[in-house]
C-alpha cells in the first residue's frame, strides 16, 4: 500500500525528474512554471520557516499546558481542561484557516497590510499543533514511574525544581519525539497556510511578508497544471513526503531508544 502510493507519486514525478536537471529545482531563480522555471527553494524555505515559527511557539506553551494538567491544576479543573485540549485537537484545519482569515487577517491588516503573512501562518499553525505537543508530553509525564516523584519529594526538593530538573528531563525523549511529530504535522499541513499565508511566491524577507509554501503550491496549481508543470508538483509532493518521513523515523527512534519511553 505504502509502496503503491510512493510508486504513483514517483511515476507522476518522473517526467520532471528525468527531463529536467533535478538540481534545477534548487538553482532555478524562481517558480515560473509557464516559462519552464521550477525553482522551489523559496517555497521550501517558506515551508520550513512557517514550521519553525509554529513549533517555537507551540513547544513551550504546549509543554507548560502538559505540566499544568499533570501537576498544577486542581482535580476538578484538570478534567475540563483536558476536554478543552481534546476539542482543540479535533478542530478541522479548514475551520482554523477560516478563523485566521476572517478574524486575524483584518486585525493584522490594520497594522501592517496585507495581513496574510509568514508570521500569521506560523501562529495559526501553532494553535493547530499545540494539542499534539500537550497530549504527547502529558502521556510522557504520566508514564514516569511514581517512585521518581516520591524520591524527589523525600529529598525535600520543592515542586517546581522537581518538575524542571527531575521529571521533565526524565520524560525528555518522549517529549522531543512528540515535538517532532508536531513538526511533521506542521510541515505537511495545507489548508491553514493556503488560507492565511498569502500565497505569493517569493523569498521570505520579513515576518509580515506573504509567502507560499510547498503544500499550498500543490493545492493551488494542481487544478490546471499540465505536463512538466504537473510533474514538478509531484516532485514537491515527494520532497514533502521524504522530509516528513525522516522526522517521523527520528521521532520513533528517539522514543524506542529511551528507557522511560
Amino acid at each position: 500500500m505504502l509502496a503503491l502510493i510512493i510508486a504513483v507519486i514517483v511515476i507522476g514525478a518522473w517526467p520532471a525528474l528525468s527531463s529536467h536537471d533535478s538540481i534545477a529545482f534548487i538553482t532555478d531563480k524562481s517558480w515560473y512554471p509557464l516559462e519552464g522555471q521550477f525553482g522551489m527553494l523559496s517555497m521550501l524555505l517558506a515551508s520550513v520557516l512557517v514550521m519553525i515559527i509554529a513549533i517555537l511557539l507551540a513547544a513551550p506553551i504546549g509543554i507548560m499546558c502538559a505540566i499544568f494538567i499533570a501537576y498544577i491544576a486542581p482535580a476538578r479543573i484538570q478534567k475540563g481542561y483536558r476536554f478543552a485540549i481534546a476539542l482543540l485537537a479535533g478542530m478541522p484545519s479548514v475551520v482554523l484557516g477560516l478563523w485566521g482569515l476572517t478574524v486575524l487577517v483584518p486585525l493584522i491588516n490594520k497594522w501592517s497590510p496585507p495581513g496574510q503573512s509568514l508570521l500569521l501562518a506560523g501562529i495559526v499553525l501553532c494553535i493547530m499543533i499545540l494539542p499534539t505537543v500537550t497530549l504527547t508530553s502529558l502521556a510522557a509525564l504520566k508514564s514516569l514511574p511514581a517512585t521518581l516523584q516520591h524520591a524527589a519529594s523525600a529529598l525535600g526538593i520543592r515542586q517546581h525544581v522537581q518538575i524542571v530538573n527531575v521529571l521533565i528531563p526524565a520524560a525528555s525523549a518522549a517529549i522531543i519525539s512528540g515535538v517532532l511529530l508536531a513538526m511533521a504535522r506542521a510541515l505537511g499541513e495545507t489548508m491553514v497556510v493556503l488560507m492565511v499565508a498569502g500565497n505569493v511566491v517569493q523569498f521570505p524577507t520579513g515576518l509580515l511578508e506573504p509567502v507560499r509554501t510547498l503544500t499550498a503550491n500543490i493545492a493551488l496549481e494542481m487544478a490546471y497544471a499540465t505536463d512538466l508543470h504537473r510533474a514538478s508538483l509531484f516532485v514537491s509532493g515527494l520532497i514533502l513526503t521524504v522530509l516528513v518521513l525522516v522526522m517521523m523515523l527520528i521521532a520513533s527512534k528517539i522514543k524506542s531508544d529511551n528507557h522511560y519511553g
Binding site: M1, L2, A3, I5, V8, I9, G12, I61, M64, C65, I67, F68, I72, A73, Y81, A84, I85, A86, L87, L88, G90, M91, P92, V94, V95, L96, G97, L98, W99, L101, T102, V103, L130, Q159, H160, V164, L181, A184, L187, G188, E189, T190, M191, L194, M195, T215, I218, A219, M222, A223, F234, G237, L240, T241, V244, L245, M247, M248, L249, S252
Partner: protein, 280 residues
C-alpha cells in the same frame, strides 16, 4: 518566590490556550450563528453558496464517508486480525507492515490527494467523483484504524483464546465470535476517530471528489464535501464568509459529537477491562 513565579507562569500558559479556544469559537459564532437555521440544513446552495443552504453538500459528505467506511472497515479489520492473531509479534513481514503503517499515518494529506488524483481519478478512470474521494480518504484513515484495532485485539485477555482453543473452536470462528466482539469498543472508537479525521479533511478531497455543488446523483458524480465548501466560500467567493462560518459551525458540531462518542466508548471499555482484571 520562585515557586510562585513558576506556578503563575504555568497558569498563564494554560489560560492563554483556553482564551484562544474561546476566541476561536466566539469568532465563528459571531457571524455564523445568524445564518444557521433548519432551513440552512435542508435547502440547496444558491448564488455560489452565498445564499441558500447546504443540503447537497451534506449529502455529498455523507456519501463520501459511506464509501470510505465500506472500504476501510473490512480491509482494516482483516489487516488488524492478521497482524494480531495470525502472525507472531516479531515476524519479519508483520514488523515491516507495522512500520509501513506508522509511516503512512504521517504522510501529509495533500500527498494523499495527489496520489488519489493520479491513481483513482486518472489511472483508474474514475474522474472527479465521490467514489475516488471516498477511496482516497479510506487510504488516509486506514493506517491509524488498523493500529487501533490491532491494539484492541491484543488487549483481549489471553484466557479467552485458550478457552476457545480448548473447546476445539477453529481459529477463524474464535476470531469472529469471541475476539472481535470482545475488541468491539476499541474498534468502534478507532473507527469513529477515523471518521472524524475524514470529515475534517479538505486537502485530500480537493482534487479527488471535486467542487461541484449540485445534488449528487450517484457515487460517480462529483460532490463537494463540507470542508471543501468552507474553503471555497472563504477563499473564492466574496461575501461568502457568513455562510462559510455557519458551515464551519455545523462541521465542528459533527466532529465534536464524533469525538465525544469515541471518548465515551473508550472510557466504558477501560472501565470494563478493570472489572475483568478483578474477575480473573
Amino acid at each position: 518566590m520562585a515557586e510562585r513565579l513558576f506556578q503563575a507562569g504555568i497558569w498563564c500558559a494554560a489560560l492563554l490556550v483556553l482564551m484562544v479556544l474561546f476566541w476561536l469559537v466566539q469568532g465563528l459564532l459571531d457571524q455564523g450563528l445568524a445564518k444557521l437555521s433548519v432551513d440552512f440544513l435542508f435547502s440547496q446552495p444558491q448564488n455560489a453558496g452565498r445564499d441558500g443552504g447546504i443540503s447537497s453538500i451534506l449529502v455529498a459528505t455523507l456519501l463520501i464517508l459511506a464509501v470510505t467506511l465500506l472500504v476501510a472497515l473490512p480491509l482494516g479489520l482483516a489487516s488488524a486480525v492478521w497482524l494480531a492473531e495470525f502472525t507472531a509479534t516479531h515476524n519479519f513481514w508483520a514488523r515491516k507492515v507495522r512500520l509501513a503503517l506508522d509511516v503512512m499515518a504521517g504522510v501529509p494529506s495533500i500527498v494523499f490527494g495527489l496520489f488519489g488524483y493520479a491513481f483513482f481519478s486518472l489511472f483508474l478512470g474514475m474522474g472527479f467523483s465521490i467514489l475516488s474521494g471516498g477511496l482516497t480518504l479510506a487510504c488516509m484513515i486506514l493506517p491509524v484504524f488498523i493500529r487501533t484495532c490491532e491494539i484492541g485485539l491484543r488487549s483481549v485477555n489471553n484466557s479467552w483464546r485458550q478457552g476457545a482453543a480448548a473447546l476445539g473452536m477453529p481459529k477463524i470462528k474464535a476470531v469472529w465470535f469471541i475476539l472481535l466482539p470482545a475488541a468491539l469498543p476499541a474498534i468502534s472508537a478507532g473507527l469513529i476517530l477515523g471518521i472524524g479525521r475524514a470529515t475534517a479533511e479538505t486537502a485530500a478531497l480537493m482534487f479527488t471528489s471535486g467542487y461541484v455543488d449540485r445534488m449528487p446523483g450517484s457515487v460517480m458524480d462529483s460532490g463537494r464535501a463540507l470542508s471543501v465548501h468552507i474553503y471555497d466560500l472563504s477563499m473564492n467567493v466574496t461575501g461568502g464568509d457568513a455562510a462559510a462560518q455557519a458551515s464551519a459551525l455545523i462541521l465542528l458540531m459533527i466532529i465534536m459529537v464524533l469525538n465525544m462518542l469515541a471518548y465515551a466508548i473508550t472510557d466504558l471499555w477501560l472501565g470494563r477491562r478493570v472489572l475483568n482484571g478483578f474477575a480473573n
